[in-house]
Each structure stands twice: as structure tokens, then as C-alpha cells.
């Protein structure tokens, strides 16, 4: 006996594995401040947050999107975010996050820290002899 299968499911040649996108290394904690910042504009679900991060970074930052969720849950547990379930634009239920008062305060703190840190790093990395005073290393 034999078995005959007619399978209407379409098939394409095996796709080539996509080229890996260059991934800049993120400092620890930057994901949190990015999430808080995105949500400071409007409430959103995880997928929309990921898209917004991509857009704002001009597609330079493409994080592994699943990593958003432990961060979102952690921030919610901490009280910086609050979340509820709603029907999304596709008709499916999705969890929407928004900033709390505590979250806004924390965002302001983190932004200030980030500004200080990035300025300090910039100061070291972009040392221009024309603009910065010469110094000896002695």
C-alpha cells in the first residue's frame, strides 16, 4: 500500500538566511530609559514600542524584540508603568502600557543621568586638539 498526499500548501525554495544587522552594544539600563521615553509620548503595546524605537533611532537600533517584555514587566512591577488589556487596531487584545507619575519622575532622572554620561563619553571619545586644552599625561 502506498500513501498519496496532495498538499495544497504552497512552497517556496528555501529562503536564504537574512543578513544579520549590525547591533551596537547597548549600555545596561538604556533599554529602560528608552521604554520610558517612548511611553512618555503615548501609551502603546510592545510591538508599537519596538517600531517606535526603530523609527526614532533611524533603524540603527534593532533590539531583539522579545527582550522588551521582561523590561516592560519589570518596570510595571516597579510602578513606573501601568498596563491594561485592550482591543488593538487589529481586533486582537493587546496589553497597553503607559507611564505613571513615578515613571515620569524616573524618566526625568534617567534622562539627566544619560545626558551627563553621554556628554562625558563624548568628551573622551571626541577629543579634538583644536578645541580642548592640551594636557600632558604626566
Amino acid at each position: 500500500m502506498y500513501t498519496l498526499l496532495i498538499d495544497p500548501i504552497t512552497e517556496h525554495p528555501m529562503p536564504k538566511p537574512p543578513e544579520p544587522r549590525p547591533q551596537p552594544t547597548l549600555l545596561q539600563g538604556t533599554l529602560d530609559v528608552m521604554l520610558l521615553s517612548v511611553l512618555s509620548r503615548a501609551e502603546a503595546h510592545g510591538y508599537a514600542i519596538a517600531r517606535e524605537i526603530e523609527r526614532r533611532s533611524n533603524n540603527v537600533l534593532a533590539i531583539e524584540e522579545g527582550s522588551l517584555y521582561p523590561a516592560l514587566h519589570r518596570l510595571t512591577k516597579r510602578g513606573d508603568l501601568t498596563a491594561d488589556w485592550r482591543i488593538s487596531e487589529t481586533g486582537r487584545r493587546a496589553r497597553f502600557y503607559r507611564l505613571t507619575t513615578d515613571g515620569k519622575r524616573r524618566l526625568a532622572e534617567q534622562r539627566s543621568l544619560w545626558d551627563s554620561l553621554s556628554a562625558a563619553v563624548n568628551g573622551v571619545v571626541s577629543d579634538d586638539p583644536l578645541t580642548s586644552p592640551s594636557a600632558s599625561f604626566a
Binding site: H12, E64, G66
Partner: protein, 581 residues
Amino acid sequence: MRFVRLILGDPDPRSQQEIERDIDDELEFHLERLEAEERAAGKPPDAARLEAQRRFGSLDHYRKLCLNLNLKERIMLQRINLALLVLVALGLGLTAWQSWAAQSRTANAVEGLTKQLAAMSANQATSQPQKREPSAASQAKGTSQDPPSQTIFISTWTSDTLTRAGAFVLPTDAKEASLRNMLILAGWDPSVPIDVQLRVRNEFGSPATKRVVIWKELNDPLQPDTSLAGYSEVFVQRVSLAADTTTSSPAATQPSPTPSASIVRTPATPDEHGKIADLGFNARVLSNFNTLRDECYREYDRVSTEAGLTLLTSRTETVLVVGAVERPGVYLLDTVRKSGEKVTELDVLLAAGASPDTKWYVVFNRVRPEYGQESRNFSAALYKRQLAQLKSDTIIVAFEGPDVAPRSSLQRLKPFNGSFEVFTSFTPEAAREWDRWDNYTDFLEKPEKIEGRDDLTALSITDHNLIRNAVDIDDPIGNRRLIGGLTADSQVNAELREILNHRQASSKEMEHFQTSMVKEDDEHSVNPGAVRTTPAFLRVRVYDRLAKKVEPIVELPYDEALKSDAQVPDGAYIEIKQVFK
């Protein structure tokens, strides 16, 4: 703030199952949106899914992280609560003891005073010792619950020591509901000493009182005559030969029930009603898992072949439902409703017409052993929390249970309104023959490797599973479905062209197949309802399934295959596939 929240209580009112469900929904929503995005960009469904998974990362890993985050405080809170409870109990105990001690001292003092008064009396010098009356309500009441009237015994474990897999019902008379009799029912030879690990459940409480359910794992070796009366469910987890076979076996030292011991040598055959009458006790076979599954899928194959083409999308699943349902059989249904809600195991049970006697069910999955097997309660109270999404190739066995749940609660369950199709109606009559059950945990421990397929492990050696995985060459998720099956022909070693030309007798069917029309009715796609008409190329592959090779032994374009005299061996599997360049 966190410490205060811990003291005051976990503000998250959700149960663990609800938390798990929410996490699953949230992550899967994101995945689906990614997949839709990739499909909108022009990728075919398979590539879109792969890319979505790559962009998302490991679903299991992030799921676990989220779960740990959400349950961490709850676990800590439970520990704190337990500690507080112990402290309170100790405090109460201490208070009670102090009170008793004080009362005792008082009583002694009174007694002493009485004696002194009596002694002081001139005429009545005899002291009358105080009779101690037995306390009025000193006997503890028995448990308020009515013990279950019958015990469900399930054994999905077969080995040389237990030769049958199935579900059985036994009365809870203390003598008959013994471990010995249950194991004999499962094919145990009492002369062979074994160690048994069971999971038992004791469900008590009348409908008017709060129901308490206790799961208890009995890890120590049990004596065969251990009474299991009072337990509503017994589930055999593991059986092994007793470590020390030189000591006298329980079977040798205990008197064995006379009729049973002699019958076990030749496993008793159930009658047409599934009853095994000559074992010395009344038992009823509810189902033989292995045979039912095989017979159902065989019937499914036959019916689907006769039905011709069936357009299946990756959003349909097949489920076998047997047991205490009105319409047992193989079900083919969508996994997502029009509303976007997921179809659940309970939906399938309702579609199959779960009877008022259905109390709980076992779900297991043979193709995906990692899904394991679980039993769940089927009741209105737990309905909302146990919306476990249907998984592929699931087998659901519904059981009758002890009459502890109000039947009216089952009537309040909303009926399943999703679309489904019963491919075959199957009446679970008693198994006609007993098959050995290849224990699925063996696959986990000793995964079977297939040459050239490092991504596939734990494959079953049954034909259906091999075929299914053979088809999934380009789809590691394994979401394709076997829709054809055994044909009416039983030619052996026929030529390919003969087989195909015979098959081509239905020219309308092939004409339709060659002009592919794939309807996009997935509401999550960009253009729901769109119909794509694309000329398809057909490719023929022949698999020698008995040799368990994944690569086809013949692969030709359809036109060439129609003229090919390539031999098709017995038991082969022929696939005609649409291919788009």
C-alpha cells in the same frame, strides 16, 4: 514601598494560570504582528514566520523571564505568609496551653479545697473523687465530605510490568479499590515485584462547602494492598522493578485475590462494553489510548481522501477527542476565531459535546512530547482560568468523574461557536486488541535522530509522525498536515506513472490543484479576504517511509512523473506539492 506591598499583599489578583495566559497572549500578539509585517513586505508565509521569530528572539526564554518576574513576589509573599501563619499558630497554641494550664491549676485548687472541706466535715469524711465525664463532643467528626463513589485510574505507562494503557473506573469499596487491583487491571503480574509512583487526588466537599483538592505524590514504594478508597483519581506516573528482588516480594507475602492472579498471565480481554468481568472485581475500560488514536486517524485519512482536496492553512489543527463526549472523533478546526480569540481545549470539548458526566480530561500530544500530558478540571468555575490554547495534534480524553460537581455548572458553559469540521465520527467501543504503548518519555530520554535532520528529535516511529515530519522539510515548526491517506488501491511495488494516472482519474481535482487559489482569510494579514491566483508548478516526491529516510527517493516535475516507471515500494508515501518559483 515594595516591602509594604509584600506585607499588605500581592496587588496582582490573577491566578498563576491567568498570568501565564496573559504572558502567552502578549508575546504571541507581538509575534503575529511581526509575521504580518513580513508578509506585507512580500515574504511567503513560511519565510515570514521564520523572520518574525528571528526578530523576536527565543519565545520560551522571554516567556520564562516574564513568568519569573511576575511570580517572584508571589512566591516570596507565600513564604512570608506561611511564616506568619506558623507564628500565629504558635501564638494561639501557647495561649491555649496557658489557658488550659490555668484551668488545670484552678481545678486542682478547687479539688484540694473540696477535700479539705470534706475532711473538715465531721459526719461525711469520705472524699468523692470527681468523676470525670467524658467530654460531650470529644469525637472528631468525620470529614464532612461524601467520599467519591468511584475512582478513576489512569495508566499511560506501559512496560514489561504494565502491559495496558488506558483509563479505568473502579468502585471505591475499600477492598476493591486497592493498588493491587488497579495495577492488575493495567496488566501487572503480581509475581513480579515493582515500585510504583502514583499521583492521587482526593476531592471532597459537598457542593455547598468549599471544595478542597489535594494532589499528593506518593514517592515511597507502596504495598499492593494499600487502599486507595477515597481518592477520586489515581494516575500512574512511573513503574519500575523493585530494587531488591531477592527479598520476599509483596506479592509473595500478601495473599493475592484468587481470581485475579491467575488471569493476569493471559491479559483479560474486555467485552464489547469495555468491561473486564473476570478479574474478580468490576472495572470498566474507558479508553485504550493507542488503539483509539490509530483507529481515529486511519478513519480520518480514509474520509479525507474520499473528500478530495482540503485547503488547510497553518491556522488549523487536528484534535482527537474521545471519552465522555457525545461526538467523539477527529476534529479539524481553526485555532483562532473571527473575534481573534484563541480556540481552546475546552472549546473542542464543547464542540465534541462534552456530556454532563464529563468532569475532567487528559490532554496529551504524541508528536510533541515536550508538551507532556496534563489533566484538567472541566468545570464552569475553572473555565475562564483554564483557557489553554489548543496545540497541534492533541489528543483529549474526557472522563466521567465522581459526582462532586453540580451538573448545572456545566450547563452554564457557553457553547463553542467557532467553525469546526468533524472528519470522522468514532465511537470508542472497547479496544479490539491491546497494543503496546510506546512510552513517550522514552523519546525524551533517548531521542531518535534522523540522518540530516539535526533539528528534529524525539520522533515517533509511527508512520503518521514520520510522514508529517518528512513533509516539514522547509518548515521546522512542523505545521503541515497530512490530508491524504491510504487510497483504495493496495498495489505493491507499482510504477509511479500507474499510480499517478490512476489518481488523475479525478481530472477536475487535478485541474483545480494546478491552478492554485490561496485565499487569505487570515484576519491578521494585510488584506483579509484577498484571493491570490497564481499558476502553480507541481512537484512529485516519493518517500520510502519504512526506511525512515527524510530525503525522497524520487523527485520529479509532475509532467515527468506521469511518464516515470520508477518503482514505488510498498508503504511508500507520495506527495504532490505546489511550488511557486
